[in-house]
């Protein structure tokens, strides 16, 4: 799976948790929390959706690495390599 497809999976996980974000610009380097009022429950739902879609089970200690789109992309890519 290439980066474009992986990124789409991450976006799909994000938008399934927060459909209202789908038509908003997304800065890949800024934490979801700061961009969108994304709280820790949203984040937990996002990680759950990501696991369902990509098979990647993120341990809690790694959560901070997935705070941004680019961070999540790098993490998922690393886990699947």
């Amino acid at each position: 799976m290439n980066d474009t497809e992986l990124e789409q999976q991450i976006r799909d996980a994000l938008y399934s948790v927060a459909p209202d974000l789908a038509d908003q610009p997304l800065d890949p380097a800024q934490p979801f929390r700061d961009q969108f009022d994304f709280d820790s429950m949203d984040f937990m739902h996002f990680i759950t959706e990501l696991a369902r879609r990509t098979g990647v089970q993120v341990p809690e200690r790694d959560y901070p690495q997935l705070a941004t789109l680019s961070g999540a992309l790098a993490y998922v890519r690393g886990q699947r390599a």
Partner: protein, 396 residues
């Protein structure tokens, strides 16, 4: 035969717009089944039946806005014959028959009407939402015969305007400006009428978090607990132990302590807005079930519908500011409840205990209480009970 009425879903609700019949005449309904959806300032709410029987006669059509107490439909309880008279004369507003004894709220002049306005034109929230979804400019919509712009008027404007534009991606049926009015009305009333007191403590969260981290480490993502879950369970148990903080005030100013803890959970919406639907019997649920209920509630607050029982049953409220926020939250009681528990974010603080100083993760918890019913010592008991329970998380 019993009447299924437009319920009051909060201290500030005067009327609601029926947006969907979820059951049809002739359908069997059980007590607790959602029968209709009503649009309120807090979004669309599913109204549940207090009766078991057959939905007989629908009296209010989709799109109609009616006052609280209006008969929406009749329910033929089991064994009764089908009605021959299609509609009875309207009856004055009163609580539905069979409704569990519960405090209803004394009526206060509601500053915010459920219909917003542009200039002097009143627009219902449902109409506003539909206009937004279809890209209709409100200024182009002709008002109806009663001077109000409702769904019918917007639909008429939409059909003359041609193909619809892309819908705005917001929660259906929710107008954040209307929700803000509802919050303002409820909180202004609370602050005006309730002699609040506040009691706070900083609690050691280290035992609970250490236990939780270990538990979550062994589980797949979907089976993990959010830290709010043990906190909610401990709060519910502590409220159960201090009955003077758990219940509702009734119309006569009397306090009715509740047997169960139906804990309202304050949930924020992106873009502003706050709703505090209840998790019923929170003190009796195991942690995994509580996690599922919380998940479900958060998702429905943000993208779906709440149910009428969740909007009216809360016996106390839990408000957690959450991670990366601020040290403490001084909460305002949601009437007719008499207490609220507010939490800041978990933060490392110096901790002195047994003549030693260490750094621990801690949480500042503030209890707001109603002096007409209790005083600060009761809240202090609640905090001490909560602290004790959080130091033995495995027992939650």
């Amino acid at each position: 035969m019993s009447a299924f009425r437009m319920p009051s879903l909060g201290a500030d609700m005067d009327d609601g717009t029926l947006v969907e019949w979820m059951k049809q005449p002739g359908d069997h309904v059980r007590r607790g089944d959602a029968i209709a959806a009503v649009e309120t300032q807090k979004g669309a709410i599913e109204i549940e039946s207090f009766e078991t029987g057959v939905l007989d006669d629908i009296r209010v059509q989709v799109g109609e806005k009616v006052p609280v107490g209006t008969v929406l439909a009749m329910i033929r309880t089991d064994g009764e014959a089908e009605s021959t008279a299609p509609s009875a004369p309207p009856t004055p507003p009163s609580p539905p028959a069979g409704e569990p004894a519960r405090t209803s709220v004394p009526s206060v002049p509601a500053p915010a009407s459920a219909a917003g306005s542009i200039g002097n034109v009143r627009i219902t929230p449902a109409a506003r939402q539909r206009a937004r979804e279809r890209g209709i400019d409100m200024a182009t919509v002709a008002r109806g015969p009663d001077g109000v712009i409702g769904l019918r008027e917007v639909d008429a404007a939409a059909s003359s305007a041609g193909p619809s534009r892309a819908p705005a991606a917001a929660k259906p049926g929710l107008d954040l400006a209307e929700m803000r009015k509802a919050i303002a009305a409820a909180m202004a009333r609370s602050w005006r009428e309730i002699p609040h007191y506040f009691v706070r403590s900083v609690l050691d969260m280290e035992p609970m978090l250490a236990w939780l981290e270990q538990r979550n480490a062994d589980r797949p993502v979907a089976g993990r607990l959010h830290y709010a879950v043990p906190l909610i369970k401990a709060t519910a148990l502590a409220l159960k132990a201090v009955p003077v903080l758990n219940g509702q005030r009734d119309d006569d100013g009397g306090f009715r302590p509740a047997d169960a803890v139906h804990l309202g959970i304050a949930i924020a919406l992106r873009g502003g807005g706050l709703v505090a639907p209840a998790i019923l019997d929170a003190e009796r649920l195991d942690l995994d079930t509580l996690m599922q209920r919380l998940d479900d509630l958060v998702r429905r607050v943000r993208t779906g519908r709440l149910r009428s029982s969740e909007m009216t049953a809360a016996t106390a409220t839990f408000s957690n500011l959450g991670e990366h926020t601020a040290d403490a939250l001084q909460p305002v009681i949601y009437p007719p409840q008499v207490a609220i528990v507010g939490c800041g974010c978990i933060a490392e603080r110096p901790w002195a205990e047994a003549n030693a100083l260490s750094v621990r993760r801690t949480l500042e918890v503030t209890v707001g209480g109603d002096h007409r019913v209790s005083d600060g010592r009761s809240a202090a008991r609640l905090l001490n009970d909560l602290a004790r329970r959080l130091s033995h998380p495995e027992q939650l």
